[in-house]
Symmetry: C4
Subunit: 212 residues, 4 copies
């Protein structure tokens, strides 16, 4: 809580950061909840055999690719949120630049479900390489947006003086790797779409465990 | 409000918990609001008799199963939120483990509408046992996720020193029961789908009144 | 900010109220944003004359009932939020009862779009009386939920000692009127659906200006 | 943090502003996330040639107008949020008038996707002038709502005594221009729809960089 002696701009800066985080939390929460709309009740129609408990079990089991896509998107957004969180703990004051770097990251977060749906529809078809490259390409952009946001967040006047320099250095190192790792995975996608998707998901599991 | 003397990590811990709660509140709020999209205006078409006030009354009344499913899902998410709330009052600091245990719970919360819709479509058909087991199975997973989150939340370094030990013991006892109760209900669903749904809803009314 | 000497339960109470408000704000924000999904782009098809600027102007103008329904629903949710807001300023601590009274109110808020859509579809048909009674009936329930929430919120142990007694008395007086006013409007709906809708909307404008 | 000596109304005022901001942040977050629902997976059907990676690349590339519309709407809502943010930093206490001026602004924000979709559907048709005028007309209303909100927010009893007078003057000057700039663009839309859309988007880029 700022003392009376503090300048209004610094007080405003504190509130701005709180609102950026609240706004971002809203976007993450909504993006992660919307994913559930992609789960569809299997519909029975004549000519599909007999409507029985066995049929429903098989119909629900046959939807495993959409469960997997749901879980992968959920994990991606959750891990992204975790990193957004860790990143904003370093920030002291806000600025227009921070708001727009954050906005770019959110734009790429809310659109994650789009390439995921493209992959879900085309992974078993001859168009799989294009679908996988589109999916991994989005991750290249997402990782780049994180790098931009980290750069802005750790700039002078924005970085909190209490932020441990060791954390900042570690994040800078690991975020700088991101775009290159995904770009390399994009090349893999051209030859083996499924391997590329597996690597991308594995990277998210890795980001989940990397120290923030 | 932390004094200047406090370590940055403890301050960060406080903010992290606030953001986990804000993010979770967002997910609960959207998940509960999205349920209303399942209520559909009855459409009149030729061959359904005469378009009259009486017809509309009957058409609206005939939708009672979807009102019931809506109310049951609403109650489930509201009670879940109440428990999430009580659980986080025990937490002092945050951690990666807490974020992911919480994420698993949210994943199972946002997908509640899916098995509910399956039950709504198949409860009156021969596939009812499979639908009811799918619905109750989701509750087994949800109750297990609560148990995992409670375990992580009450671990050393996470539990608030102000948390009343009696509350913690009581929650541990009642949460440990959850998965077994639902697993038993799943067995019931095989023989009597409607009874299993009634028991599940009854359990939510019970959780609503159990002291937190 | 509670001093160290304060009991944990009182600190918890403060946080609980904050989370009820945050959760409710999320529900209101989402419910009000979802309304925009009811606005549809007019589609041109062969046999509708020539595709011209004049045609598009007329097609957009012809959608005035849905603009009106949107504005009315938006006003309803906004005024409801304003009252929710004023009501929670009176509250000091939280309780299970408050959470469920609030949950009932939110349930009736998230479903406002359903009777609104019924009215929009049937107001120009012979089924109009049933549609209007359904719409006003929802408002009877909503006003009753406000009365229940006010009763719980102003109970001993929940009401803030700082709440001005005059405000509490005034709210109790005006909220007790609500259900009766809407019930009377429901009777009007049987004879004149459009008048009933106009009265209901007029009442919301009235609630908007009534001192909180 | 108010001292015990402060009047309850001032404390309430503080909480009201926090809830208006939280509610508005929720609306902005959902409005911006809902935009992603407009991105559709291209569907392959017989008679479209061969299903290949090349076909999918072309199909995804052919959707550029919807990517552009998405990015433009995202930018509009993000810049609007930035200004909402800057505006509320000037506010000390809340009032009914502020809540309704803010509500009007939110109404016009949540409906941005509607004229955007109209433009996306009709920009390449003879109806383009009507579509563009409808789109720019919405912006006239939005800019007017900002002017109304600024007027209410900077009124006596609402404006924070800490708000820098220079900022207030600058915002008043630039916000007063808004409606006129968009009205002039609306006239342009009658003759050149595409130029009008370009000017409107250019103005948002301008608002993004104008000092708050």
């Amino acid at each position: 809580m700022p003392s009376e002696a503090e300048a209004p701009s610094s007080r405003g800066g504190e509130r701005e950061t709180a609102r950026i985080e609240a706004f971002s939390d809203g976007v993450y929460a909504f993006a992660i909840t919307l994913l559930a709309l992609e789960l569809h009740v299997p519909h029975f129609s004549e000519g599909k055999g007999e409507l029985s408990a066995r049929w429903l079990c098989q119909a629900l089991a046959a939807e495993w690719p959409s469960y997997l896509a749901f879980a992968a998107s959920f994990l991606t957004i959750l891990v992204t949120w975790t990193h957004h969180h860790a990143l904003f703990r370093l920030v002291q004051t806000s600025s227009r630049r921070l708001q727009f770097a954050n906005g770019l990251l959110l734009l790429l977060t809310t659109t994650i479900s789009f390439p995921t749906a493209v992959v879900a529809e085309y992974l078993q078809t001859p168009a799989a390489p294009a679908a996988a490259m589109f999916y991994v390409g989005q991750q290249v952009l997402l990782a780049s947006a994180f790098l931009v946001l980290l750069h802005v967040a750790t700039g002078p006047g924005t970085l909190s003086p209490e932020a441990p320099p060791e954390s900042v250095r570690r994040m800078k190192r690991s975020y700088a790797l991101g775009p290159w790792l995904y770009a390399a995975t994009m090349a893999v996608a051209f030859f083996s779409p499924k391997l590329a998707i597996a690597i991308t998901t594995g990277l998210w599991v890795f980001w989940a465990f990397v120290p923030p």
